[in-house]
Symmetry: C2
Subunit: 437 residues, 2 copies
Amino acid sequence: MAHEPGAPVRVALLGCGVVGSSVARLLTEHADDLAARVGAPLELVGIAVRRPQRPRPDVPVDPSLFTADAEELVTRADVVVEVIGGIDPARGLILRAMEHGAGVVSANKALVAEDGPTLFEAAARNGVDLYYEAAVAGAIPILRPVRESLAGDRVRRVMGIVNGTTNFVLDKMDVSGAGFAETVEEAQALGYAEADPTADVEGFDAAAKAAILASLAFHTRVSSAHVHREGITEVSAADIRAARENDCVVKLLAICERVTASGSDAVSVRVHPAMVPRSHPLASVREAFNAVFVEAEAAGELMFYGRGAGGDPTASAVLGDLVAVARQRVSGGHGPGESAYADLPVVDLGQAVTRYHISLDVADRPGVLAQVAAVFAEQGVSIETVRQQAGPEDDGRARLIVVTHRATDAALSATVEDLAALESVDDVVSVMRVEGA
Amino acid sequence: MAHEPGAPVRVALLGCGVVGSSVARLLTEHADDLAARVGAPLELVGIAVRRPQRPRPDVPVDPSLFTADAEELVTRADVVVEVIGGIDPARGLILRAMEHGAGVVSANKALVAEDGPTLFEAAARNGVDLYYEAAVAGAIPILRPVRESLAGDRVRRVMGIVNGTTNFVLDKMDVSGAGFAETVEEAQALGYAEADPTADVEGFDAAAKAAILASLAFHTRVSSAHVHREGITEVSAADIRAARENDCVVKLLAICERVTASGSDAVSVRVHPAMVPRSHPLASVREAFNAVFVEAEAAGELMFYGRGAGGDPTASAVLGDLVAVARQRVSGGHGPGESAYADLPVVDLGQAVTRYHISLDVADRPGVLAQVAAVFAEQGVSIETVRQQAGPEDDGRARLIVVTHRATDAALSATVEDLAALESVDDVVSVMRVEGA
Ligand SMILES: NC(=O)c1ccc[n+]([C@@H]2O[C@H](COP(=O)([O-])OP(=O)(O)OC[C@H]3O[C@@H](n4cnc5c(N)ncnc54)[C@H](OP(=O)(O)O)[C@@H]3O)[C@@H](O)[C@H]2O)c1
Ligand SMILES: NC(=O)c1ccc[n+]([C@@H]2O[C@H](COP(=O)([O-])OP(=O)(O)OC[C@H]3O[C@@H](n4cnc5c(N)ncnc54)[C@H](OP(=O)(O)O)[C@@H]3O)[C@@H](O)[C@H]2O)c1
């Protein structure tokens, strides 16, 4: 559909919660700037919500714009902004919008990560744009840089802190020395964690973002189901202490790597807590901030840092996409569509190459270190350092701290299993992967 | 000109030095990936250099591609990549390329900052794209995020470390305590500073980048001539020490700010050394790395970090632009053109609001502090803190360290002048602006 010169671009907003209300407000407050940047005014033609009668004093729009009939609303827009979240009805509404010729902007990581290909194919079939910058790391421009700025490069690795809640919790545990449960309660009280924090602390949210990042970085379809996921619920005060002693911090990382499997290129995508050296740029990401570290062949190391959530920051990313889609509407042409040409296999975690930091409580007697070392050797895992600390009490126990070289995760986890079974090992105090060293 | 499906996109490379040779190599090595991402193969049709006969063993292309006739080469390309540098002949070649219908990618900060509007108008007139991501902060995607990702937001401030040489020198001075001259020699020996380091150490290079960033961030035409520029040649070991004692580091910053002048919006653009608190994200940018800190109304604080120079990193940015321009060539449509609709006035430094950190050697006797304070008061500058240190020797001298509140730079520099003229002030040891606090 060619755009008539001077005519407004009709925008439908689906959802008016944390993100949607910021989008509506900024659309109104910045109307003149947006019109100048798009080349035509943006006209908000309706806002679909569950409860259209609800007073929304912080949303400065004509109340008659609110509707419960999202199905109808999407048929009379040039661009649809979906900020409802979840799989249904968001998916159906987006597909319907595209069939009616609208471009789509979404912040919906869950949907894009679970069923992106359905959306991408619909966008291509209908010749419309689909943008979702806000789905990963909120305000931080990361999808556009990976997809466009690095389009001439080869990405090796993306390593991100992409969930603010878990970073807040881990940061507080690091500062206070407190345990996981009590710190989550504190985060809830401060509004940094939801009443049901499962999606964040179990790593589901980060896994969705990892899938999206990996898809773009490696031109391969990666969905949430491909992502190995471990949350932070098992991270103990002992782990945090062990990290400190190793001059590291514990971060929940989303890692997307180009790896070699059976002699050819493949992709490993995983979310898990890891020790990161304090000197690494990601280590200094505090509180609920997000950051994404990218290593590319020619560009080298890049880092992108900012706010990963919140109404206004997320709305900033949504509006950036909205301007792009609307501008293309006005000028003709399209943004880059999905690209999955590389179609690399996604390997499971066992094949990924990682390093472990292991603390063990052992019997303090001759021969124990040799026993422990033998277990590593049997699994073909080579040890980088071993440190032995006398136990706190004079009770014949000692602490062994082992940092391994890189080995497959399968070999490393088998090693830990065998260590735990040794008669001379009382307790496996902490096991954590080491990244960024 | 519509692109014939399947036909290659013809690429002409102007310049084959540090950046150009990396571009040529990556074009060759990544040919398959690039073709998949563009939707058509990229065909290198020629490389213009000064000395076409010169052997270039590190550039894996057919030697017959080299030519001295750049004027002719640009007439037979779909996209021209200009990595010669300088004003002429680069400008004429770019204009000629556009007149012949080619899109242009350039890494030439000097040219874009000095005479951008001539280029932008030619691009618009000829309906072609002009991209120049590599001109600012090398590999770091910063222009595309500012121009596109933040297109729905309002940028308040851009503050960047955009010159690697000066950051390397200041970082070394901080670590070693050595003076400027000796550190520049060290940087030259290590290849981090050129034989003639003027463009870097006098801030010309950073000023060009500041002009480009300000133009995009504020939708206003800002050229190098608008930028207040101070280099690092006057930064002394005493300044670095003073910064240390104030828990700061000295950085050469390019600052682009939205300010209020005579009651309406305006822009301040300046390059100067400044003290930055060690806790600020920019303070941890070491060696020759670059980083750009952006504050936007909705997005909040963002930071972009990476390598600001070097053949491969710069070529990564060039190729990202090349893929974008070529993709638009293939699919039809254009990227966002120049936008100068806001047309804000650029104020001079005197009107910018800054803070100063001043160290003075004074006579250690009653009444001197009152005298000093009176000078500040006369200029209407309010003092945040004063610290008094006994001099190293018992000679009746003391050191006063004053940090001011925000005031116009004009008032602050007048204050320093008056202080220097006081009979009780022996020496103005260090004067430096404070940013990021
Ligand atoms: N919050 C963040 O910081 C953040 C950051 C990045 C991405 N995101 C993503 O942004 C999206 C929205 O998040 P949010 O935090 O703004 O959610 P939210 O506050 O829960 O708001 C959801 C909105 O959708 C409306 N809605 C729910 N079901 C609907 C239906 N069936 N039909 C029409 N409208 C319906 C709700 O209407 P009522 O108002 O009537 O209840 C509400 O306005 C999610 O995909 C989320 O993952 C959020
Ligand atoms: N180097 C970096 O790290 C970096 C980073 C960001 C941006 N940039 C920008 O990238 C551009 C290129 O920088 P560079 O470091 O690659 O420069 P360079 O190493 O000096 O290379 C310049 C190239 O241009 C060729 N050339 C010079 N005059 C010419 C003419 N009249 N006609 C045709 N070719 C001519 C030279 O030919 P010969 O080979 O025959 O001498 C050489 O190949 C500049 O605008 C620079 O500001 C550079």
